[in-house]
């Protein structure tokens, strides 16, 4: 546990880094938008200042129609993924849990594709796809939890195997669905790889309330997750209604994953890396971890997305590919350390 003052300083540093990465991501592209221009345009949009002199009107369109929605979406999705990773790691009592690794993201994707293929993305309103993704994530999370648990513990090996098995079944179901989908297959495939392109404000408006709901749920569950880390029986001895907490944690993790997947496809490793790195800085207490993770997740995904669209510009990489390239080695490192470590079965 770090001292409260150090913790506050860390949060301030993370918030500053978030603002900086936000301005940087908005600035970089075919046209350079300087942070100062961005700030002045934002001030104008919010009605604080008049339209900045010397800034072409085309810049306003680039900022508010292209760059800003993309970066804001990256921030919201990053926050949702990081928070869901935190919740799943706490629930599974395992620092290797991640919504993508344990198959929950695939479940969400299946739910979303089911809606897209059967009735079309916009047919049932903006919430239809996120809610279908949520339902898919929820079912998968319950299934994996039941499969991975042997007696009182969720072992690394069973967790990963259950995740792999469930994800394999789901991906074959998705292939099956996609083979019926005809011309939409290309866009579904691009979306599956994880992408933040061409989403626009409606997606943000659809998922943000749900993400806020999920984060609130995570916040209310975080103290119980601390106690769950001591083992279910010990948590119960200290006053936790474990079945209720487990149900709530699965629901919260699935909601957050569903939101992220419904707009950005399957983006792995953000939910794994963010809580892991932040735990090293703020300690294990989920109540302190969550706010830090909500700032760090967006930074990670904004920067990954920046890399995705600039690395081979004017071509774009799917952002899921970038996070996997960063996160894969990190995951392998953790897996090795866990294997060698004090509690391989933690």
């Amino acid at each position: 546990m770090i001292a409260p003052r150090r913790y506050r300083r860390l949060l301030v540093a993370l918030a500053t880094a978030l603002a900086a990465s936000f301005l940087l991501a908005v600035a970089v592209g075919a046209v350079w938008l300087s942070p100062w221009t961005t700030i002045r345009l934002l001030g104008w949009k919010l009605g604080i200042a008049s339209y900045p002199r010397g800034v072409p009107h085309g810049y306003e369109v680039i900022l508010f129609q292209l760059r800003l929605p993309r970066v804001v979406l990256a921030a919201v999705v990053g926050a949702a993924l990081a928070a869901s990773g935190t919740v799943f790691q706490g629930l599974f009592r395992n620092p290797l849990a991640d919504p993508a690794i344990i198959g929950v993201s695939s479940g969400a994707a299946l739910g979303a594709i089911l809606v897209i293929v059967s009735v079309g993305a916009g047919a049932l309103g903006a919430f239809a796809v996120p809610l279908a993704a949520f339902a898919g994530a929820l079912l998968t999370a319950f299934l994996v939890y039941r499969l991975a648990r042997i007696g009182p513990a969720v072992h690394v090996a069973t967790l990963l195997l259950a995740g792999i098995a469930v994800a394999a079944v789901i991906s074959s179901l998705m292939s099956l669905l996609m083979s019926f989908s005809g011309q939409e297959i290309r866009s579904i495939y691009a979306w599956l790889l994880g992408g933040l392109m061409a989403q626009g404000w409606p997606s943000i408006e659809a998922i943000t309330p749900l993400v806020i709901l999920g984060v609130a749920g995570a916040a209310l569950t975080s103290h119980d997750l601390n106690l769950m880390a001591l083992g279910e029986e010990r948590a119960a001895q200290l006053g936790v209604e474990i079945d209720r907490v487990k149900r709530r944690a699965v629901a919260v993790g699935a909601l957050l994953t569903g939101c992220a997947v419904s707009v950005a496809g399957v983006i792995g490793f953000v939910g794994l890396m963010t809580p892991h790195l932040l735990r090293l800085l703020v300690g294990a207490d989920h109540r302190r971890l969550l706010p830090a993770v909500l700032l760090a997740g967006p930074i990670l995904l904004i920067m990954a997305d920046l890399l995705a669209r600039t690395a081979i510009a004017p071509q774009e990489l799917p952002v899921g590919v970038v996070t996997a390239l960063l996160g894969g080695p990190f995951f392998l490192y953790l897996l090795r350390r866990e294997g060698r470590g004090r509690r391989a079965a933690a």
């Binding site: 546990m1 009592r93 395992n94 620092p95 916040a219 209310l220 569950t221 975080s222 103290h223 119980d224 601390n226 106690l227 880390a229 001591l230 083992g231 029986e233 010990r234 119960a236 001895q237 200290l238 006053g239 936790v240 209604e241 474990i242 735990r279 300690g283 294990a284 207490d285 109540r287 004090r342 509690r343 933690a346």
Partner: protein
């Protein structure tokens, strides 16, 4: 909130539970009153941990009644129950590295709101608990880096911070060194005396349990087979019938509490088929009797006075022995019996005991047997003049015995010689 407590402390009445073919409880009744420390003992698999789980709301019994501080733990929320009964499990290894302070603070969670960091009262309780278990210097250390003993104490502090009127401990002293065992037991005693906490502690060490508990309850195959003050419960019959071991129960002179003494492992299947007889007294024969037994001899002893140290040792070693009442001389019958034992022996050892009117006849019998051809060794660490209390007769016999015997100057010499 608890109504006027008709059944304070911990009450189990007619509790039965079974799961998955594992250990079960059958009709267990047990009561721990406020301020009382009760030890729960019994062999592995007798249901001790199951009983603790039943009492801590982890395992609902099929039958029977459970009350903690007057309430049915299965009729209230986990949070309410955690304010009434605290558990110290055998070990807790958190999945993430919490610090010791965070761990102890978790003991306050039945009183905290989901976001509450704890008020002054919570922090005071945490501080007291950490002081009591001497872990305050570990506050900022991650618990997964602590030693087993340190972690045990942190977990104890966590349970103390719960401030519950009933405390259950599952083998609290395992992994602890002697110093911390003593400290822990006095913390537990202090809780019972000062706070009136009702305490039930599982113990494996019967002596420790007897020394530290007001009452012992013995579980065997899921039923309570004895329940009472330690001095009434712990005896040789208990060791034999419940644990299936032979052992002695002695009573501490000062406290009167029973203590179990087990012999060293019986690793003497190699019997030589040879007999040895030891003439001892005043403890001079004891080391030799032990060594000869260990070396595989069938050992007999005598004649000894019944309260003599050597007589007690011979009894413990379960030797064939000839005894006479304390302070009396060796009578003809005893001498006769003893001569019989000596004559059948392959080896006769006469120790350098003090010889007075009460036992000098041992020397004359031994002399006759030695002269008849039995291999005889006399031990002479102490010269005979210093231990002759017969004004010369013992010296005379001893010197005669020396003539027909081998002389050894310490115990090991004898055993090396014959072994």
């Amino acid at each position: 909130m608890p109504q006027p407590e008709s059944e304070p402390g911990l009450v189990l009445r007619g509790v039965s539970v079974g799961y998955g073919g594992g250990p079960a409880l059958r009709g267990v009744s047990l009561r721990v009153r406020p301020g009382e420390v009760v030890g729960l003992v019994g062999p592995n698999g007798s249901g001790k941990t199951t009983l603790v789980r039943v009492a801590s709301r982890a395992l609902r019994p099929h039958e029977g009644r459970v009350r903690v501080a007057g309430r049915d733990p299965y009729g209230i929320s986990a949070r309410e129950a955690a304010r009434l009964v605290a558990v110290v499990p055998q070990d807790v290894v958190p999945a993430f590295s919490f610090t010791a302070l965070e761990m102890v603070l978790m003991g306050r969670s039945p009183y905290l709101s989901p976001w509450g960091g704890g008020g002054p009262k919570d922090w005071a309780r945490v501080r007291d608990a950490m002081m009591a278990t001497a872990v305050q210097h570990l506050a900022d250390r991650p618990v997964d880096e602590l030693s087993g003993g340190e972690r045990r104490r942190v977990i104890l502090a966590q349970a103390l911070a719960q401030d519950a009127p009933v405390l259950l401990l599952d083998e609290p002293t395992t992994h602890l060194d002697l110093r911390h065992v003593v400290d822990l037991l006095s913390i537990v005693r202090g809780l019972a005396d000062r706070e009136g906490t009702a305490i039930l502690a599982i113990h494996h060490d019967l002596t420790l349990a007897a020394a530290s508990c007001d009452r012992l309850a013995v579980l065997d195959r899921g039923t309570v087979v004895a329940d009472g003050p330690p001095e009434d419960v712990v005896d040789r019959d208990l060791l034999r019938s419940v644990y299936g071991v032979e052992g002695d129960v002695v009573h501490d002179e000062a406290s009167g509490r029973p203590a179990v003494r087990l012999g060293p492992p019986r690793a003497v299947p190699v019997r030589l088929g040879r007999r040895a007889h030891v003439v001892g007294g005043a403890g001079r024969g004891a080391p030799l009797m032990r060594r000869l037994v260990r070396a595989g001899f069938d050992v007999s002893a005598g004649v000894l006075h019944a309260t003599d140290t050597d007589a007690a040792v011979a009894e413990r070693l379960n030797l064939l022995r000839v005894l006479v009442p304390p302070f009396s001389a060796i009578d003809a019958a005893a001498a006769q019996d003893c001569r019989g034992l000596m004559e059948q022996a392959d080896l006769l050892v006469v120790c350098d005991a003090p010889y007075g009117p009460g036992n000098v006849d041992n020397l004359s019998v031994a002399l006759e047997v030695a002269r008849s051809g039995v291999r005889t060794v006399v031990i002479e660490e102490v010269p005979i003049v210093e231990r002759d209390f017969t004004s010369g007769r013992a010296t005379e016999l001893w010197n005669a015995l020396r003539e027909v015997s081998e002389v050894a100057f310490d115990y090991d010499e004898v055993v090396v010689d014959v072994g």
